[in-house]
């Protein structure tokens, strides 16, 4: 039982990170239909900012906002430079563009920074642990869970009560009509990218604080998982992205904890196999996007 609870905490921490990444992907996808492969590189950028801050002796409390700012700015620039020219293209066109962007950024990181994994200085406090109800919980895990909750609450408030957030929801329902109502396409899309950059930045801080290192491909795997979480939850649905992220986190952590040792090598295929099973029964995801059925005939 103790192990189970312990692993549940781990699953919440990992699932929360996936959820934030998947949310970032979903915010952009729901508005412009772009599956952003370069989302992981936003994470990597935030990770490198943390690393350089550590080297320069900047306090972690200052480094985190700087990292978030960097990934937000990078996201907005990415949209302006790479995605605006293909905004009206097909989903495949945009996806391929984003994967070229990701590839170029990865090579740039490798050349300009290092091909190897670089250590990141973290405050000692993060590697401490606390005792709660008989469990030993790492501060970094606790911080991840708290940060995820804070971000989700913030996002909910933002989408419901902020003008830009409401505009984004309107644009996700029907972009053409939203524009006719006077919503500026550029503002909404830039806002969506800024938001996804912020979410990627938070995810990067959480990710790095568990691992204390950063490498050029850091963002690749977690974002791949976030893609899968996003379809598991229902592509384009924000609540679905959160649900899918957490479910994937739970699947992965429980498998690594409870799968017999001889099966551990197949952990990843089995985990994804479970995702496929869920999708077989719910092809549109756990919480399908509302716009799916709305196509006019």
């Amino acid at each position: 039982m103790d192990i189970f609870l312990q692993q549940t905490v781990n699953a919440l921490a990992l699932g929360g990170t996936y959820a934030l990444l998947a949310l970032g992907l979903a915010v952009v996808f729901s508005i412009m239909g772009l599956i952003n492969f370069a989302h992981g590189e936003l994470m990597t950028i935030a990770g490198y900012v943390l690393m350089y801050c550590g080297i320069a002796g900047v306090s972690f409390v200052v480094a985190v906002p700087l990292a978030l700012m960097a990934s937000v700015i990078a996201a907005v620039l990415m949209e302006r430079i790479a995605f605006r020219p293909v905004r009206n293209g097909s989903g495949a066109t945009m996806l391929v563009t984003s994967f070229a962007v990701a590839m170029i950024l990865q090579v740039l990181f490798q050349n300009l920074i290092s091909t190897r994994s670089q250590p990141v200085l973290l405050p000692a406090m993060l590697s401490d642990s606390v005792h709660i109800a008989g469990m030993v919980i790492g501060v970094n895990k606790l911080a991840a869970i708290v940060a995820t909750i804070v971000m989700l609450v913030f996002l909910d408030w933002f989408m419901k009560h902020q003008k830009t957030g409401i505009a984004m929801r309107a644009a996700a329902e029907d972009f053409a009509v939203a524009r006719l109502m006077g919503i500026r396409a550029n503002t909404v899309i830039a806002g969506a990218f800024a938001l996804s950059g912020l979410l990627a930045g938070v995810a990067a801080v959480l990710w790095v604080s568990q691992r204390a290192s950063v490498d050029p491909l850091m963002g690749f795997m977690p974002v791949l998982k976030a893609f899968i979480a996003a379809i598991l939850g229902g592509l384009g649905s924000l609540r679905g992205a959160v649900a899918g992220g957490f479910l994937l986190g739970f699947i992965e952590i429980y498998l690594s904890a409870f799968l017999p040792p001889e099966m551990q090598e197949f952990r990843e295929p089995i985990g994804l196999g479970i995702v496929v099973l869920v999708l077989l029964f719910r092809p549109n995801g756990l919480i399908p996007s509302a716009t799916l059925k709305a196509e006019k005939v």
């Binding site: 989903g91 070229a100 590839m103 490798q110 050349n111 091909t115 994804l272």
Partner: protein, 606 residues
């Protein structure tokens, strides 16, 4: 059977063979280094067309195809690996596999078959997903396969190098297999299945309405493309002699996808163009990667020059040529004209056989979208030999009713029947096969296909495609669009697009066309959703004359929705009026004009 003119296919087959053989001869003359490059190029090209068979025709990008290449490589490698070698490197192999040692070609064949079976199983699951979700699912497939190959150490040596495979892939073998793969891909593109799949890519809803079961076609192309990938995998395995799971993972996926996308994924021409472009650029950039000396200036070595180069080419292609360098047409389609149809009517008048009068009946139909009730308890009968007009203010539920009758929407309540057949839950392509054809309010043509192909798909996909060419050409003649047969649908004017849509609906209903042609008639129904929208008076009158001829002479039933009351009044035998989702009146045109409820609905209280 193929659906494009024979001259297109002959030109392309000749082109493929001449190109491949010329390239092979040139490379043989240049020496081993060029031979090596060309062999790898051929093998990559096989993989690229393999991906194109699925992604290009279906429009769903796949990241998972290298899984099949990997399976092909490992299966064929396991078969040709000498038995002693297996004992040494893979001691835990099951006995039957340890003893197996086949020749190169049988190994390829077995690898292709095994991979196809695997692809069929995967495809059945994948087929439940649409569009972007399917694309991401293929990413999952790649990760799963990679994980299984690494984990299954007893058979694959895990992440270590799988070595000792006899190097049997010669340049000529690669060339011949490449020719075969290119021909298979080219023929598939213009096969019945390929054409249907492309129609589905262009407009899924319209494809369903003319009888295309897109999922079935997707599965066919998925399995075929996996088989081609397996071939490519088997060849690369026997070219390299040693490989590891990494060979079939993200790096190569991106490289091959880049070839496919830069060239243009919907054509074989595009696959070749892309493979040539990327291979050339890679070969050139690779020379600069280690640093070079430019006019006495020492340039530093830049790691990953080739990736950046490829990345920039992709960006350039996407910004400037989103359909790829080769565009949407095969080279030969640009040079040779498409199908031609003689505009003269070949229909001869004669005795019309009695019509089977089975009407289509919708009973107590209700459609809810969340809280909104779009149609409330409406019953409707569409008879053959009669033109029924459906009118009502905007938002009164006309199109929703039509959608329920044609299977596009499943009603929340009520039933749709034709005779003894219950069509309530039928899919649109099944409804189309019960003799019910329709057009759409917003024109839905298969934009990048020709007018001829637009109509041909309908004829091929209904009634088992019997006498499809005849039915297609008769429908084209009946609608007077013969002169456009070879043009792309999206190049037509609005009014002409409407005519193409109706011609397609006609061809899809073979019985009506049979009446027109062979005068052996059976009942059939045609739904027209605002056919006159956007037409001027002259075009509308012309359309009316055609419709009257179809019902009067040939006895088919028409359900027509339109806002042009003059058209409705003159054309219809009976009119049904909807308001706010409910029926408010039904009867002959003159009665409807006087009906106070109708006047109120249209003009409000006086």
């Amino acid at each position: 059977m193929t659906t494009s003119p024979a001259r297109h296919l002959l030109a392309s087959l000749a082109g493929i063979i001449v190109l491949a053989i010329t390239a092979t001869l040139v490379a043989s003359a240049l020496g081993p280094a060029s031979e090596r490059i060309l062999t790898v190029f051929f093998i990559s090209l096989i993989a690229v067309v393999g991906m194109g068979v699925y992604s290009g025709n279906s429009g769903i990008l796949s990241f998972g195809h290298l899984s099949f290449m990997g399976v092909g490589a490992y299966v064929s490698g396991l078969l040709t690996l000498p038995a002693q070698m297996k004992m040494a490197t893979l001691p835990k192999l099951p006995d039957w596999l340890a003893a197996a040692e086949t020749g190169f070609f049988s190994a390829i064949l077995i690898a292709v078959v095994v991979t196809s079976v695997l692809a069929l199983i995967v495809g059945l699951a994948l087929n439940r997903l649409e569009g972007s979700a399917a694309t991401i699912a293929t990413l999952g497939l790649l990760i799963i396969t990679h994980g299984v190959i690494i984990g299954w150490r007893d058979v694959t040596r895990g992440s270590q190098s799988f070595f000792g495979v006899p190097r049997e892939t010669t340049l000529w073998a690669a060339a011949v297999f490449c020719i075969l793969a290119l021909i298979a891909a080219r023929l598939y593109r213009d096969s019945v299945s390929g054409l249907r799949l492309r129609a589905g890519r262009e407009n899924a809803i319209a494809a369903g309405a003319v009888g295309v079961n897109i999922r079935k076609e997707r599965l066919i192309s998925w399995v075929l493309s996996a088989a081609i990938m397996a071939l490519s995998g088997a060849l690369i395995a026997h070219f390299l002699g040693a490989f590891s799971p990494k060979k079939f993972y993200f790096a190569d996926t991106f490289l091959l996808l880049a070839m496919l996308i830069v060239g243009g994924m919907s054509t074989v021409t595009g696959a070749i163009t892309g493979a040539v472009t990327i291979t050339l650029v890679t070969e050139i950039l690779r020379r600069f990667e280690g640093g070079f000396n430019l006019a006495g200036l020492e340039m530093p070595a830049v790691f990953g020059t080739t990736q950046i180069g490829i990345g920039l080419i992709i960006l350039f292609a996407m910004f400037r040529k989103p359909d790829g360098l080769a565009g949407l047409k095969e080279l030969e389609e640009r040079f040779f004209p498409g199908h031609r149809v003689d505009p003269a009517q070949t229909v001869t008048a004669g005795a019309v056989k009695p019509v089977d009068p089975t009407p289509l009946q919708g009973q107590n139909l209700t459609m809810r979208f969340g809280g909104l009730v779009a149609v409330r308890d409406v019953s409707i009968t569409v008879n053959s030999g009669e033109i029924l007009g459906l009118i009502g203010p905007n938002g009164s539920g006309k199109t929703t009713l039509l959608n329920m009758l044609s299977g596009v929407l499943a009603p929340s309540e009520g039933t749709v029947r034709r005779g003894d057949t219950d069509l309530t839950q039928a899919k649109p392509y099944e409804v189309a096969n019960h003799g019910i054809a329709r057009t759409f309010q917003n024109i839905r043509l298969f934009d990048t296909l020709t007018v001829y192909q637009n109509v041909l798909i309908a004829a091929l996909s209904t009634k088992n495609g019997e006498r499809a060419v005849e039915r297609c050409e008769t429908a084209i003649q009946a609608m007077g669009i013969s002169q456009f047969a070879g043009s792309d649908a999206n190049t037509l004017s609005y009014g002409d697009q409407r005519r193409v849509e109706i011609a397609r609906a006609l061809a899809c209903e073979p019985r009506r066309v049979e009446i027109a042609r062979a005068l052996a008639c059976e009942p059939s129904l045609l739904f027209l959703d605002e056919p006159a929208a956007g037409m001027n008076r002259e075009e509308t009158d012309d359309l009316m004359a055609t419709l009257q001829k179809l019902t009067g002479d040939l006895g088919l039933g028409v359900l027509i929705v339109d806002h042009d009351l003059k058209l409705i009044n003159q054309l219809c035998d009976r009119i049904m009026v909807l308001n706010e989702g409910a029926e408010i009146a039904q009867g002959a045109p003159e009665d409807i004009r006087k009906n106070p409820a109708v006047i109120e609905a249209y003009l409000g209280h006086s």
